[in-house]
């Protein structure tokens, strides 16, 4: 069996593999950033946690700035405190991550939402920013 066949890498050496990993991860991240900033025209904001929609702070067609409040959810927040898991119902507000415009509001106050499922707001963002 040749050394190449015994090797755990397709590269000449582990060092080459390390460099390839750095380059590949840089390319992957760059592609995602360019795609999100310049190609994707709008994003669908689904619930980031399981919960209940308690308030929508914007109206369809409204312009929003980065940091503006979009909606709030009543969620169960779990946190370790003094080695005991505490569960609290809290209202959590979610904000715009980039300047943009509200295209659609699909969530209704009182809706029960599941994490990553069910559209709440559709938002277009300013070209070149990361939504």
């Amino acid at each position: 069996m040749s050394d190449k066949k015994k090797s755990l890498t397709v590269f000449k050496t582990d060092r080459h593999e390390d460099i390839a990993a750095i380059i590949a991860s840089a390319i992957i991240v760059a592609i995602v950033l360019i795609y999100m900033a310049f190609v994707v025209p709008s994003v669908n904001l689904n619930a980031q946690q399981d919960g209940k929609l308690t308030e929508v702070f914007v109206a369809e067609g409204a312009t929003v700035k980065k940091g503006d409040k979009l909606y709030s959810l009543e969620v169960v927040k779990k946190k370790w405190k003094d080695n005991v898991m505490e569960e609290k119902h809290v209202i959590q507000e979610f904000t715009a991550k980039a300047n943009g415009k509200v295209l659609k509001i699909a969530g209704k106050i009182g809706d029960k939402v599941k994490k990553d499922k069910g559209l709440i707001i559709q938002l277009s963002h300013q070209r070149g920013t990361l939504p």
Binding site: E17, D18, A20, A21, V32, W80, M85, K97, L130, P131
Partner: protein, 369 residues
């Protein structure tokens, strides 16, 4: 085969890689969602939630099935090059994990991680060198085992072997022992963690300290909690993992220096030359990614951009973990035996249990970030 041009080499990767990607696709898109809906013993999603049979664990199991059952113990030549991209995918995933942190978060737990890793890495190495002497093991066997159990499984033992003139058979026995131990701990640890009601912080710290291989640390953390986000088991475990990987050249030097003490006729090398040749430079990529995250270049926490980056990361890791499973050769593990097995099991178990006790006693459940 050896004279292929770049296109030939890329083409040779395709079949094996297609199996890895295809396997992950089926598991993530069809199998895991189906299993999450299946009710067993009156509990919806019992297989995923109680048995921790998420796509990560299934990826590894299926990889093992391919090699040991479907391929009869050896990855066939047509798929070999594709499967040899496994470590590349795991390294890309590790670098991308840097996006989960900012430097202030790393500083919060970095001190604890460095203290624990340095104590356990060098403590284990010293213990094995002592235990090897007690068991009258060959000094080169003790040296390779110290590197293997102390710091980073296969990488460290292979790196140490030439300096301590270990025989190939001893190296193979050491690797078989630590692989067997690593695989057992990879499947058992998530259940122990849940049984002991460990938090993500405690579990990541324990697994990062007690398990010996980067891929296995990540797989174990993701089996415990499959979410890629700050504050999860994989986010904490990776900090420990990176500190441990960085310590490889220092441990290799420490062990070879110990070996040289009673050996006149060996070629001695300096710490700087070991660092130059053995330092895992992909860690620089991890730090670079953390720098981008600290400068908020990757998008704000909670943004769609970060969600997409983490989704891509999950796919990259998943592909690597199918390959990790395919590199588990049951026959190699069965070959473990003799003094390396005794030393490896005693030291490995001691490290694993001691790390668990220390984590439970001194590390709070509440995470640092």
């Amino acid at each position: 085969m050896e004279d292929k041009n770049i296109f030939g080499k890329l083409l040779a990767i395709v079949p094996g890689l297609a199996i890895m990607v295809g396997t992950l696709f089926v598991l993530r898109v069809y199998v895991e969602p189906w299993m999450s809906q299946v009710t067993l013993f009156g509990y919806k999603g019992w297989l995923v939630k109680v048995m921790s049979l998420n796509y990560i664990v299934m990826s590894i199991l299926l990889g093992m099935f391919y090699r040991n059952v479907l391929f009869g113990g050896k990855i066939p030549g047509w798929a070999e090059d594709g499967f040899r991209t496994t470590r590349l995918f795991i390294k890309i995933g590790v670098i991308m994990l840097g996006s989960l942190y900012t430097f202030d978060k790393l500083l919060k737990v970095g001190g604890v991680a460095i203290t624990l890793i340095v104590a356990f890495v060098f403590g284990t190495a010293i213990f094995i060198l002592w235990l090897g002497k007690r068991l009258n093991a060959d000094r080169s066997v003790s040296s390779v085992m110290a590197a293997a159990c102390g710091v980073c499984g296969v990488s460290a033992s292979v790196a140490t072997a030439p300096g301590v003139r270990a025989k190939p058979v001893d190296l193979a026995l050491c690797i078989a022992t630590i692989l067997g131990f690593g695989i057992a701990s990879m499947f058992v640890s998530p259940y122990i963690g849940k049984l002991l009601n460990m938090s993500d912080y405690q579990f990541g710290a324990w697994v990062g300290t007690g398990i010996l291989n980067s891929g296995q640390v990540l797989a174990t953390c993701l089996a415990f909690n499959p979410i890629f986000a700050p504050g999860t088991a994989v986010a904490y475990g990776e900090i420990w993992n990176v500190v441990r990987v960085i310590s490889i050249p220092f441990v290799v030097f420490f062990i070879t220096a110990w070996y040289w003490k009673n050996e006149a006729a060996v070629e001695r090398v300096s710490l700087s030359s070991i660092i130059a040749s053995k330092f895992p430079i992909f860690v620089i990529g991890f730090v670079g990614m953390t720098a981008l995250s600290s400068l908020h270049i990757l998008g704000a926490e909670g943004s769609e951009t970060l969600r997409v980056i983490r989704e891509v990361m999950a796919w990259v890791f998943g592909v690597g973990l199918v390959g990790l499973g395919a590199y588990i050769d049951v026959r190699e593990i069965k070959a473990a035996g003799g003094t390396p097995l005794k030393i490896g099991l005693i030291a490995g178990l001691l490290k694993y249990l001691l790390a668990l006790i220390i984590i439970l006693a001194f590390i709070p459940k509440e995470g640092a970030f």
